[in-house]
Symmetry: D2
Amino acid sequence: MSGNTFGVLFRFTTFGESHGPAIGCVIDGVPPRLALNEADIQVWLDRRRPGQSRFTTQRREPDTVRILSGVYQGQTTGTPIGLLIDNVDQRSHDYGDIAESFRPGHADYTYHHKYGIRDPRGGGRSSARETALRVAAGAVARKVLGGVSVRGALIQLGSHAIDRARWDWNEVNNNPLFCPDAVAAAQWADTLDQVRKAGSSIGAVVEVVAEGVPLGLGAPVYDKLDADTAKALMSITAVKGVEIGEGFAAAALSGEANADEMRAGPNGTVRFLSNHAGGILGGIATGQPIVARMAVKPTSSILTPRRTVDVNGNEVEIFTKGRHDPCVGIRAVPVAEAMVACVLADHLLRHRGQCGG
Amino acid sequence: MSGNTFGVLFRFTTFGESHGPAIGCVIDGVPPRLALNEADIQVWLDRRRPGQSRFTTQRREPDTVRILSGVYQGQTTGTPIGLLIDNVDQRSHDYGDIAESFRPGHADYTYHHKYGIRDPRGGGRSSARETALRVAAGAVARKVLGGVSVRGALIQLGSHAIDRARWDWNEVNNNPLFCPDAVAAAQWADTLDQVRKAGSSIGAVVEVVAEGVPLGLGAPVYDKLDADTAKALMSITAVKGVEIGEGFAAAALSGEANADEMRAGPNGTVRFLSNHAGGILGGIATGQPIVARMAVKPTSSILTPRRTVDVNGNEVEIFTKGRHDPCVGIRAVPVAEAMVACVLADHLLRHRGQCGG
Amino acid sequence: MSGNTFGVLFRFTTFGESHGPAIGCVIDGVPPRLALNEADIQVWLDRRRPGQSRFTTQRREPDTVRILSGVYQGQTTGTPIGLLIDNVDQRSHDYGDIAESFRPGHADYTYHHKYGIRDPRGGGRSSARETALRVAAGAVARKVLGGVSVRGALIQLGSHAIDRARWDWNEVNNNPLFCPDAVAAAQWADTLDQVRKAGSSIGAVVEVVAEGVPLGLGAPVYDKLDADTAKALMSITAVKGVEIGEGFAAAALSGEANADEMRAGPNGTVRFLSNHAGGILGGIATGQPIVARMAVKPTSSILTPRRTVDVNGNEVEIFTKGRHDPCVGIRAVPVAEAMVACVLADHLLRHRGQCGG
Amino acid sequence: MSGNTFGVLFRFTTFGESHGPAIGCVIDGVPPRLALNEADIQVWLDRRRPGQSRFTTQRREPDTVRILSGVYQGQTTGTPIGLLIDNVDQRSHDYGDIAESFRPGHADYTYHHKYGIRDPRGGGRSSARETALRVAAGAVARKVLGGVSVRGALIQLGSHAIDRARWDWNEVNNNPLFCPDAVAAAQWADTLDQVRKAGSSIGAVVEVVAEGVPLGLGAPVYDKLDADTAKALMSITAVKGVEIGEGFAAAALSGEANADEMRAGPNGTVRFLSNHAGGILGGIATGQPIVARMAVKPTSSILTPRRTVDVNGNEVEIFTKGRHDPCVGIRAVPVAEAMVACVLADHLLRHRGQCGG
């Protein structure tokens, strides 16, 4: 249980480093007779793929996924789905510095001391490359979820937040930053150009909204739907904070202001007058949209030299050459969506197991 | 797997509602030959116990814990530790309103629809009473952790944050609010008196700091130490946000500002010049203090009438009589500490299992 | 994960030693709105209770179960069911010999060396007393299973097997040995009297038959229905062998003889012409009766002195005073039934989770 | 949790059908810095490989394994080890009969009804091909186990058992049947020729012996070392019974005869005078050799026509063309060894996690 599996009933297990021959994923517990082919997965992988704009790493990975098992004649069979993505762009690097010294803010140092050995090529297992497999698993989770919509957006770059009044989901796919606010998107492009040219990096905030989640999904105590979501998002590389609904702003509210009042809706349903809860009460989905956010720190791989130590304990300076994202938060958008989809698919099956229907 | 167990190797399973005869906990995987008696657990339960000041619910629960198994002659035996706490103050209430109508912001509504049945007495399983067992498990986790210190504090009440320059750990136990800033503690007491008299409630932010955590604890991908911590804290009643280190503030930092530079320390160790990471890199402990925060929403049980619906879909108004905490964030402090201790104890055993010694 | 929890979705966790104040069980994942009260559980506990005939230990334990949570107004709520059984007959023993020396064939020796500490009173956690909780969990599993019948019988005592032509399920409850063959039951009573008077013990074979198990329960590879059943039965104290269907006799069959041929049954069903498979093919239930057997070794606690060593490594002799079962296989019958019921309930929920319906 | 993962700390997850492009395995939790390369795994795969004698299927699979991750410069890194084996010999078959009708004794029928869909090519996921991955995982488990020896042998073919007085471990690798008795091996070769020519099949019994297992491995109640071993072996295709030590013969013994008496050995150790227990007491290893046996039913794929039904419920006859093992028990020997090795490796890490060192 060294933590390379996610989920209980809908669960996926991944392997692979950024510079090995391939990375892969086993998705287990998928219901049988769902339509699934490689294009269903590839479309989501393509959203996350690097090298699509000047704002993400120029590493050129086609990230072409192959389904090795679990699908027969275009339908899932209920047996494990094996996925494989070859690593193509393993450019020959000089990893000397990175192999010998610890990048501040990077997992080099902790891997080295946990395991006593480390694959220094491209970050090894701690590379963001692993997140491609999360996106692939998320594509299958969406099939399990049927009509549930799970969409993400970049809502803050550095200290600049979007204007929520301008939120337009269509805009998210119109700019390379997954920004729902066209005005902010244009401003951020300038900001990112400066950051990129300076060899620096910048943080961001991502929001994911899931609509159509059935009332009742979740669990009451330790595996609360929000707790599992928090784990899912915090497990993504570079994430340092997670919120549900009002999040940290809830601390500043009164009980009156925070209450989501209810009125009778059509056909015996309930209509909420607000959604401070972000769609989850007591760990269980209310039927309102689930709203989650995560904070992504700036990439630790920057061109500016930083003080550090080498593996022998000597004081040195280090800067990171190579092709890095100036803002990893951008490509984290499809990853965050995927993780939320996986949590929901898992809880859908868990709920059906215990409560039927 | 309806989510009433927490942890992998150090794991606890709880049961019990606020108004049944008792609540209980089974702690499994505890190493043998640790000194443990009931007083070791009781001291932590007493910190969380209600009714100790005018700022927490006046329900009078002694929360006396009994060890039913797993300890022989004052030492753990390696077999499961069964704990039982009798429910004493089951005052005879009129639960008519709560049984028939859904309190806005409360789990009433979601339990009712998930299970089709609900124990309305005192919140049933969704009651904060369940958190007493987390504190008990945390007391045992501390034994497993040996020299690791895990301490929590209330750092924000409503919109008023402490002044970190005045942080004094000794002060935390000097006031009934677990506030490390004596000046803020005095101001907050006034604020809370107003909130309480108004029958309202208020949110808060809790910070937990773990010192002495061995470098290397954690796991690289889905069970990152920060991901498990996020789940642990988000699973506590009323929590809506979790941060590690800089948290959401990391989004606004540049890569240069966020990097924790390293210098050679004494005896071959490494000295970090800052701790933006909050003690965790790539999911693995750096050896620096682990710093986690959580946002607690205001109690949903308030005296002000709110609009809602009843179980038959009729529009009604509801307000909550009874003995409620004006700020559940206060008693969440020992709970948050306990959950962090449990995550660390689990990862201590997991690390030893895979990597030895 | 020191192994005190059984099951995935329908799962129970137990604690308690034979001479502590109480033993207990948490049953998690139970579907809501099942009718359940203490009498539903007590009836099964009473079947296993010691002291009901001269053929079982004379320890007098009423084994009265209390439901502490998870049931409201006679129905399960979907939250964990806490059960407690007080230990009543903790007769004051002299455990000097057992505490200082290792009984051959008993877990004394291995516990001592695994944990470096051991509760010597009455076998501690390795006592058959723990099996009462399995029976309690099995009673709840039967509620989950609805119309599925799970029945067990003693089919061999020492080297004497029943005559299957005389099998009568009604007879099982007519004699204190759970024997389905009235002739054998009478003969075995004599045999057991001799064994008991000699201070010796004897082994046995138990068979469990589950009828009405839905076609399709199970899983294909590692969690095969037969694999989980094998684990469930082998985990019972003193069990040394497990068989499904033909079991070891299958080794001597040809492929032709072992094949369960199929014919069309009424209403589109299939009629099997035999059941060599014991109701499971490829890890999945065929809809035929599931047939499992287990071999129970003779009790290791006997009056005849045996050679052993003490905790200091000195060579000594030991014999076990006290009130022991001459054949633990007898009381293992309700325990085996319960474990099969728990496996089936778990797979019922797991199947529903993945495949629906 | 549809059961494609085995183990808790040392755990492997597999995917793949017999006629897809490849099968694969992710091994998680492997300690870092163990020497490992592909040849270390290939040597065990070669033992199980089909087509090596006239007594196993003539399917020609080289079963060449590739390590895709988790190993760097010949050492494990502590991250998941991804293994891939291409399917090479996917001879173009006419699966018409098998696709439309259910082979008696085969998983066709149960898969069809569980999932409502089935990959009929070569048995799909229920094919014995999946066991190659168990052998690969077992090879890595052996690295974790260091000096522990895990060896298996065929001890019964049909109704003919070996003479244990002639047991010679060296003989096991001298004949294509893994038989430790040279005389029996010669006789069995004749028997198998007859079975093969008749288009029939025959069952067998396999014994596995693990020597050097540290005293103390295991767990006391549900995850007993013997319970986990029983599950591991019963999960292998075609296995119908499992025994530890005396197994079913223990039922016929008296307590006196079954007791393994102890004497003082050299250097403070203990010397057992017998090993009826098969090396496990109370679920925990005694330090004696662990002895487990399993019964393997005859292959259900035979040339003799058997009565069955087709997917539309019509009564038909079926016989299985193609290249099948006359006795799957032979190739089950390396699989059984591998599963025992995996159970022991898992419990080694689990013991170290809870109890240290």
